[in-house]
Amino acid sequence: MNNYSHFQVKDWLDDAAFQRWVYHGEQDGFWIEFVQNNPGQLSNIEQAREILLAVRGELDALPDSEVKLRVSEILNAIPDEKLRALPWWKSNWLKMAAMLLLASGIVTALFREKESLHSLQTFVAGLRDADNADQLEVYNETHAIQLVNLPDGSSVILKKHARISYPAAFAADRRQVTLRGEAFFEVVKNPDQPFFVYAGSMVTKVKGTSFSIKANDEDDNVELVVKTGLVEVSASKDGGKSEISAGKKLILKPNEQVTFNRKSQNMVTKTVQKPILLNLPAESQNFEFRRTPLAEVFAELEKIYGIRIQFDAKTIAHCTLTAKLGDEPVHEKLDLICAVVNARYETHGSSTVVVASEGCE
């Protein structure tokens, strides 16, 4: 039937059926019988089996249920294609409802009297104005981190798959942004124009601080940790832009973390040793420099904000920085640095900064 009787150890090692028996227990009956009937091969088989098992080593138990769970996590993490394109009728339930209402209004109105067409046009125009025509959205699809400079100069570091939407110009009395995913904020101080972050039915209100938020769609909880300043969190009534509900409200100090449950709207706080939620360099950097060569400072900023800083290495070769920068957004930090080392800077696009210096002889 086969030439197994002449097999050497090496032959056994390479035999596919034998391997399947050793590794997966296939055709166990056949092999047990074979060993019994071929005592001469016993030692070769034993040796080959030991070697194959040694080569494999120990394997973790990985139940199918866990594999299924991981696979579904992966499938859920696929960014929604539809959201990327944001067709008008899918962008927002409220908008859709408004459209339906409007459409039925148009039909009724047209039915009633044809002259009303003109007034309808004005109505539609008015609606469009109210509907945040200048809302911008940034979605970090590909980079490990991506810096977003908000209209007021505040910095947001988006982690991969995070998205933020904000108006092209903030309202006079408030700055309002919506976040999905994970991001670190450095907010320009302006007590007259509080800064609101809407993330997964949690509202965060600050006046000028730095903090991290984790608001992934697939998680039941939204988390926030404060690096500097004070932060106020509360539940938003409908996950939308409504006023903060009067009920639960918490004030958080540096190194305090809140876990907000989307469903129950429960908030649990704890104090952490370090304000690290997203493993971003920005969370742990304290921005203290002592006679640090400027090129190193720039390298640090590049790493933290995921930006590129272009400069002439020769002219700044003698420049060093001694400064304690805090939670200012990246542009304020650059202002401070440039003031100290007698330089100017320009931004090109959202992620490139060009520094011109006269040197520090």
Binding site: E50, G57, D60, R70, I74
Partner: protein
């Protein structure tokens, strides 16, 4: 057996092409079919299970993102193994920078917690074999694992590990030779023991 293997391979290739065309259910199935083998392969590099799972998630999301460019791939398993290997080694290196582990540790030594441990049966033989396999250079162990446990061909192993085919052949030959020597030592030792105990 050969037949069913071939037909399942044809099936996988069909599913792969469907996935490249944007079929999410084909993607889900391929992910599920390959998850465990890739995970076990990952345990060869690090004891950090969370890191492996992270890397696997990144890997699959990445291939989903660039699915349109992947239809040329015929050898799916080696492609996945190679991608995971590159990702893992990169991430382990990056981690070790932060945790002050020497960079060479990653390439040259498998940490003691990781999994080249032999189980059961004859304890002494197993023990000797474990020592033997632990004593092998990391890349030899890896080549042996891919050859015998994962059934990859020399060419495929060469692709996965970024080596020449001849280097793979050498690794395998040397590795097996070493293991057999150890096994024989152990067997002789055992025989001696039983001789002694007889008197």
């Amino acid at each position: 057996m050969k037949n069913s293997e071939r037909s399942s391979e044809t099936y996988l290739i069909t599913r792969w092409q469907q996935f490249c065309a944007g079929d999410k259910s084909a993607f889900g199935e391929l992910t599920e079919l390959n998850y465990a083998v890739l995970y076990h392969y990952g345990t060869r590099f690090t004891p950090d299970r969370d890191l492996i799972k992270d890397c696997l998630q990144d890997l699959f999301l990445e291939i989903w993102e660039k699915r349109e460019t992947l239809s040329y791939i015929a050898a799916i398993k080696p492609y996945l193994f190679q991608s995971l290997r590159n990702n893992l080694i990169r991430r382990i290196r990056r981690q070790s920078v932060f945790s002050d582990i020497r960079d060479d540790d990653v390439e040259d030594d498998i940490s003691p917690e990781s999994d080249w441990i032999v189980q059961e049966t004859d304890q002494l033989t197993s023990h000797r074999l474990k020592q033997a396999i632990d004593a092998l250079p990391k890349r030899q162990k890896e080549a042996l694992y891919l050859k015998y446990y994962e059934n990859l061909s020399y060419e495929e192993i060469a692709t996965v590990m970024g080596l020449q085919r001849q280097a793979v052949a050498n690794y395998l030959q040397y590795g097996i030779q070493k293991l057999r020597e150890y096994w024989q030592h152990a067997a002789i030792f055992l025989a001696l023991c039983s001789e002694i105990s007889r008197y």
